[in-house]
């Protein structure tokens, strides 16, 4: 199956792209996907502890089982609003 991975801010700069198309076996968990992305882009490893995860525009737990066509977002800690 194919999963769309969206990247923002620092993560986008590290990977050099706003998004990836990730091919994976059925039953892949969000945790396993993140592990795979971090393995491919090791500079993300230092951000792993503060990384927020979303699936289809909602925050999601790392044991979430992904489905074909899901949109996963790797989100740095948010900083919106007033300075």
């Amino acid at each position: 199956m194919r999963i769309q991975v969206r990247l923002f801010a620092t993560y986008r700069e590290i990977v050099g792209s706003r998004g990836l198309t990730w091919s994976a076996r059925d039953g892949l968990t969000l945790q396993e996907l993140v592990d795979g992305v971090v393995a491919k882009y090791p500079r993300l490893a230092g951000h792993r502890d503060t990384m927020l995860l979303a699936v289809n525009h909602d925050f999601a737990p790392s044991d979430r089982i992904l489905q074909e066509g899901d949109e996963v977002a790797l989100l740095p800690p948010v900083s919106g609003g007033a300075p």
Partner: protein
């Protein structure tokens, strides 16, 4: 009214969007880009579909929690110069205490959960850094 937009925020329109005859108080919060040495602007980046979804849910939570008659949250994204408005929140309630409390709470939640990130744009290109 919930929106994330690149255009300037029309504050009067934000206030009018929550104006109702049964609301005796409207509190407007405006977040602005603060001046810091060497910084001329902030770049705001957004994950738009999630931001709109999260802001819409946040507005409903605020109405339930504080008994608001209405709430609007507008966030500007893109490059905003020092002194520019980055976010506006208007909370309307029957009485002012609920409107004041809700406005502070909503802003804290915006900073905590809405997927928006900002980067300082410096006078010198070697001084770019992210701001929390």
């Amino acid at each position: 009214m919930i929106d994330v937009r690149r255009a300037r925020i029309d504050l009067e329109a934000v206030v009018d969007s929550v104006r109702r005859n049964d609301a005796g108080a409207i509190v407007l919060f405006v977040g602005t880009v603060r001046s810091e040495e060497g910084v001329r602007a902030l770049d705001y980046e957004v994950y738009r579909p999630m931001a709109i979804k999260s802001l819409t849910a946040l507005a409903e939570r605020a109405k339930d929690k504080f008994g608001l008659t209405d709430v609007s949250i507008i966030h500007r994204v893109g490059r905003i110069p020092v002194g520019g408005d980055s976010v506006a929140i208007a909370c309307a309630a029957v009485h002012r205490a609920e409107a004041f409390a809700a406005c502070a709470w909503v802003m804290d939640e915006v900073k905590r959960i809405i997927p928006i990130w900002k980067t300082e744009i410096a006078d010198r290109p070697d001084r770019v850094r992210r701001r929390r």
